[in-house]
Amino acid sequence: MTKYAIRRVLALLPVFLVVTGIVFLLIHLVPGDPIDNLVRAGSDPEQRAAIARAYGLDRSLVEQYLTWMGHLAQGDLGTAIVQRRPVADLIAENIGYSLALGGSALAFSAIVGVLAGVVAASFQDRPLDRMLMGAALIGSTVPSFWLGLLMILLFAVELGWVPVSGARHWTSVILPAATVGLAGMALVARVTRIAMVQTARADFVTLLHANGVSRFAIQSRHLLRHALVPVLTLLSLRIGLIVGGSVTVEYVFARPGLGSLLIRAINQRDYPVIQGCLLMLAVAVMLGTLIGDLLQAAMDPRQREEQRS
């Protein structure tokens, strides 16, 4: 298992290198540059050239990439061109909010989703199952910005239980987390249900019944364990998504976060910030996949074997 883990981590290194290259090229190939945001309209080309030189933007892309990578290797993400602050500081300021929102949304979708899926599977094709799956369908199709607004109206404005927006108190995370988590929950519920229903048809489950194991024990101890394998994969793939993927919800609830930081940086073509944020997201996705793989290997002995051969 330890060997497997080490190999998985090493396998991520080339992926990381490719990702840095793509992240770097992606934004530099987009038209426009940060200088537009620093100078007034109609300023002369001399001035622009001076600024470009100061930030090294006049050098070739390869040179710029190597410089960035050199700094990155020393743990330096660079300094924001427009916001004029170290990128690391900007990210540090915002990532806490993103992790709080993403983490609670992930926990919400995992717990409620698995529960709903298990209940639906045990009442397969009966009214309760149809009701839950109908709700899951609605949950996964409703756009989150609209759902967020509805929830603000109901829980913050009408009932006054939680703050409307911002991130000053811990209760302010509840509504955005529920909003982001609902889509994930619906997906998790459906995957849990289908995995349980499918596993229930396996021969070994028939044999469990034939051995006199009770229905409840089969559901809770055997089927659920099998169903959790795809669910964990799904959830770990969402880790990356959840760190930066809640931009619209952050916007609706006026929350700071990595998503908002990234959007602002993109508008200003603030290269170092965009690179830093994208790199964070890429690392989150990679870590998510890694965690998913490791968990899966820990749960399913066949997984470990296949990787070995």
Binding site: F204, T206, L207, H209, A210, N211, G212, P301, R302, E305
Partner: protein, 324 residues
């Protein structure tokens, strides 16, 4: 004394379909009954019905009786049935590849029966597991207990499945094509093990198979199924020496034997009809070489034509040797 298992007039429905009708057979202690038939003849449904697992596949017992010793199983409450399953009646499934939980270690899967039905604690159950596994001639049992199913061969897995079935100390085994998925040499070993078990521990065994060779080799008595009905049943010797039902005759003719020349072996023309479009009257009449007009209209009753030998065929009913 009542038989270990006695099934009478059993009918099973799946919605509007009736894959089992008028099924009857019995098994004594220490006896191996071969339940033979083509795919789709209702053998596996019979196994599921006796195990009380029909609701799992969406079926229902419509009529008849299944007596296990002195207990009527049709209509038995689920908690009582659950104690019987694994504890008194055990199932051996046909595909060892998929019959073990891939995520659980072998030892724990075999322990289950003893812990559930004999009330043994973990250590005692494991001791019993090791004993059973050695009984099944599994080498290095202690090490195998720590393995996961994918690390074992098919033959090993089938031995494990049998050890699992024995764990709760049952009196009756129902083996649904236990050797179909295995290669020929392993098949012979598994069958040998089953036969030894039955003889030594005086278990009852219902051996479900489509392999007439296996029946001749291992069984004491045979019941031949066709389209959800038992067409003929009797002792193995009688059935092979003097099969009476045209279907049994055709089946025994399908067994390869020494001295056979190329082209001598003939199959049965036609195919097993689907449950949805069962023929009227005798269900075999469309494929029967000796069918009479009456076969199309009237389902034949099963008649005793000798000691322990019964046939459901119009051709046989008036036969003089049917009289005692």
């Amino acid at each position: 004394m009542s038989p270990l298992l006695g099934v009478r007039d059993l009918a099973v429905t799946f919605g509007a379909q009736r894959p089992l009708d008028d099924v009857g057979f019995r098994v004594e202690r220490g006896e191996i009954l071969g339940l033979v038939g083509e795919s789709g003849s209702g053998k596996s449904i019979t196994a599921m019905t006796v195990m009380g697992l029909l609701p799992l596949v969406g079926g229902r017992v419509a009529a008849g009786s299944i007596r296990f010793e002195d207990t009527e199983l049709v209509g038995l409450e689920e908690p009582a049935y659950r104690r019987l399953r694994g504890g008194r009646i055990a199932l051996i499934t046909q595909n060892p590849m998929t019959s073990l939980d891939p995520m659980v270690r072998i030892g724990r899967q075999v322990d289950r029966g003893a812990r559930l039905h004999l009330g043994l604690d973990a250590a005692t159950a494991r001791a019993r597991t090791l004993e059973l596994m050695e009984r099944m001639r599994i080498p290095d049992a202690a090490r195998v207990c720590e393995l996961h199913p994918h690390q074992l061969s098919g033959g090993m897995k089938q031995r494990i499945v049998i050890a699992m079935a024995l764990s709760g100390a049952p009196d009756l085994l129902i083996a649904d094509e236990p050797t179909t998925a295995l290669d020929v040499i392993v098949q012979a070993q598994i069958v040998q093990l089953l036969v030894e078990l039955v003889r030594e521990q005086r278990l009852g065994l219902v051996l479900i198979t489509h392999d007439m060779g296996l029946v001749a080799q291992a069984c004491d008595r045979v019941a031949v199924m066709y389209c959800g009905r038992i067409v003929e049943s009797g002792p193995v010797d009688t059935m092979f020496a003097a099969p009476r039902h045209p279907y049994t005759r055709a089946l025994t003719a399908c067994i390869p034997r020494p001295g056979l020349r190329h082209g001598d072996l003939v199959g049965i023309p036609g195919a097993v009809p689907s449950v949805a479009e069962m023929p009227t009257g005798c269900r075999f009449h469309p494929r029967c070489a000796d069918a009479m007009p009456t076969c199309r209209q009237h389902a034949p009753r099963s008649v005793a034509i000798g000691a322990d030998h019964a046939v459901a065929c119009r051709l046989v009913e008036p036969a003089p040797e049917a009289a005692p």
